[in-house]
Amino acid sequence: MVMGPEPPAAAGSTLVADELPVESEVRAIEGRSLGRIAWNRLKRDRIAMAGGIIVIVLILVAIFAPVLVKLVAHPPNDFHDDLLDPNLGGLPKGRFGGISGSYLFGVQPVTGRDMFSQIVYGARVSLTVAFLAALVAVLIGSVLGVAAGYFGGWVDAAISRVMDLLLAFPQLLFAIALVSVLPQSLWGFGGTFLRMAVLVVVIGFFGWPYIGRIVRGQALSLREREFVEASRSLGARGGYILFRELLPNLVAPILVYTTLIIPTNILNEAALSFLGAGVKSPTPSWGRLMSDAVNYYQPDPTYMIVPGVAIFVTVMAFNLFGDGLRDALDPRAH
């Protein structure tokens, strides 16, 4: 399985005032918050901004997929026999996988489905699974991580061992096994919804220890800080300290980590779909398109390149943006 992204080098909470003179030309402005400072830094990072813009575009494409497809393409599941050469086993007519003005990314062999619609709808599946799985991982990871770091002792030992266990668990094999024994419907849910839920749970559940470890490390050092001491000596209880003192200081690393875990999740989703453990046909999925394309890599390489580029661009954009965000929130990484 793909490794988790590398942890941010340090917590954003360690932003200190002596970094500010860098922005000499904006010195006149006063009372800048840490977020404002980070945003200014991010704005100057062109690569990160480019990544961010692509991410936003992708999200918009996913959200407005039906509108987009209606405007420039064809419904994702419609067959177009007339665009295929039946004598060649259903290979698209024309060059480059049948790319044309009304089929921007060509058509799928055998079915003649519009690849543009497949990619656009595939983005929905990919991004939904990636975001939800990241959410699951971040929720479990930060709560358990901060608890382990703050309480220490047996709580820490237990949570840390669970994390070790999960990190060593063969996630990919588990997911494939789980999907193959999955009934057609479960608790009244069936089909695509069930498969996506399984993907979210599997990817998210096995992803939380990565973030859990980082948060635990941060919490471990934060709990020895003076402001925590002070809070404790004023009579604050565990819960208050955890959520009002520690967590706000962990927001930056969690945010950075979330943007970095999303591309990993996209790759995981694609890998699982490639191996047949993803959403079921006819719901479009990038990974499944790739695995189908293996059969046509010689006569119709376009079919493999299109979803490949989609995955590549998405993962790249998220990574660039995530890196830029880390740099912005953590000046020491410069």
Binding site: F79, D81, P86, G90, T111, Q184, G191, Q298
Partner: protein, 586 residues
Amino acid sequence: MTVKRRAIAAGAAVLAMALLAACGGNKATTTTNSNTGAGFNAAVGKVVNPSTKKGGTLQMWSSQDADSWDPAIGYYAFVWDLNQLYTRTLVTYPAQPGTAGLKLAPDLASAMPDITDGGKTYTFHLRSGIKFDDGTAITSKDIKYGIERIFAQDVLPGGPIYLMGQLDEGQNYPGPYKDKDPAGLKSIETPDDSTIIFHLKAPYADFPYLLAMPGAGPVPQARDTGAKYALKPASSGPYMFQSYEPGKSTVWVRNPNWDPSTDPIRKALPDKINLTITSNADDLDSRLIAGTADIDVGQTGVQSAAQIKVLQNPSLKANTDAPPNGFIRYAAFATTVAPFDNIDCRKAVMYAADHTALQTARGGPIGGGPIAPNMLPPNILGSDTKYDPYNIVQGKPQLDKAKEELQKCGKPNGFSTTIAVRNNKDKEIKSAEALQQSLAAVGIKANIYQYDGKLLSTVIGAPDNVKKNGYGIMIAGWGADWPSGTGYLQPLIDQTFILKNGNYNLPEIKDPQIQSLFQQTALETDPTKAAALYNQMNHIVMEGAYYLPFTYDAALNYRNPRLTNVFVNQAWGMIDFQALGVSDGK
């Protein structure tokens, strides 16, 4: 024959995994004598390069080894075809193109059998001068012994066991290895060395077809080595084994004791026949196109890369054939699953299906086969490829008619159902998707359920399971073990063939008319008259809308232009290998 094909697929997978490096050395020095090919499908229905020129070495290749050369065990279609080289049977399929190849002709027997006792007794007389490769005469006792070996399923498992079903008659005969009684199997009588009499319990008009299977060929008891017999079987045909290295190669040379005057069927042109096994199917295709391999005996079609290359080049395409191989690919409707208990709902699916899309999913008209309008393949006597009750062949979905049928069925807005499909057959999955998509147009929402293809017999082959899980539509394929309507249709439509596991009558058809027709065909020893009865059955099945046929299965195969006497024998659904010769004498 599904058994056969399934085994082939498994075998190919094992070979691919084991990566048996059975390659290289055999650089046949054939120059492709750049003569233009005979044309696409030239070997279907007629003979390409007719010739009587003897000599040369025939270079056969395959990406899978035989399941067994033991005639009692081998079950692959191509192994039956190759058995013609070294196994003669009482009757066999004549070496002729077209439907002439389907009508059994005497081989070891001097004439077709005398059938007496109301169709229960079959008497054959052997030709004189027939010999094994060691020079000993072939007697009726050798044929009886060959058939007795089939009963030794503990030693020789895996072959067809139809003859056991017809001949055991309550004796529980354990096979010749365990049986100590010199009389052996009681239902076969050998009054002298050239006469053999079969006593059946009930008339069974298809009995001669069972005797044409290689397992009914003669085996000399003195040379029988049990399970090891497959390594060097005795030969009654024109070629004998020189060597056999499992997974690598087989070499046949002329059998000096085979007398052509006793054999009206075989030509025996090449001096030597090599079969080389390779694990690399793409390499095999390039050898075929380069002319260093003569033919792929698997005959399951060139790989997709080679297929596109061949089809895009007219001069290469002229060396290919894509004959129907006797399989029909279809969807079966489970009559135990609502709403398919209602004939109008079944008809709605028949009309809503997009048959062009289904054909494309199978590989298109050339790589997949022509659209099938009914449930009898063209290699079965009684087949009528023009009978198209649902107007399927034109290829387009008929949505208006489908909606009409939905109305009649009481589901004007459609319904939900499940399509069950094997997960290891890419073409079947694509067929399911095509069906799903075309049904959506009339509001029929079909979920695709992919199951482990190895579990076929317990997933869709178990009626209880089908009913429990509501598999309304099941995708499958079927080919007969012998080319008669009984061989093809009985497992698919006879209610007595509905099994708890391994069932092939997927719709669970229980039709008294069909049952009475089967009783008539069991008595009808005239194949032409039987054909009319099978034609009737086909009509009943189609009128009942139990099956939605997709295609008459076909695969695109390449033949080296140097080959002579190339034709498709419909009995095998592939090139008749024993007839082949080489034009350049090399």
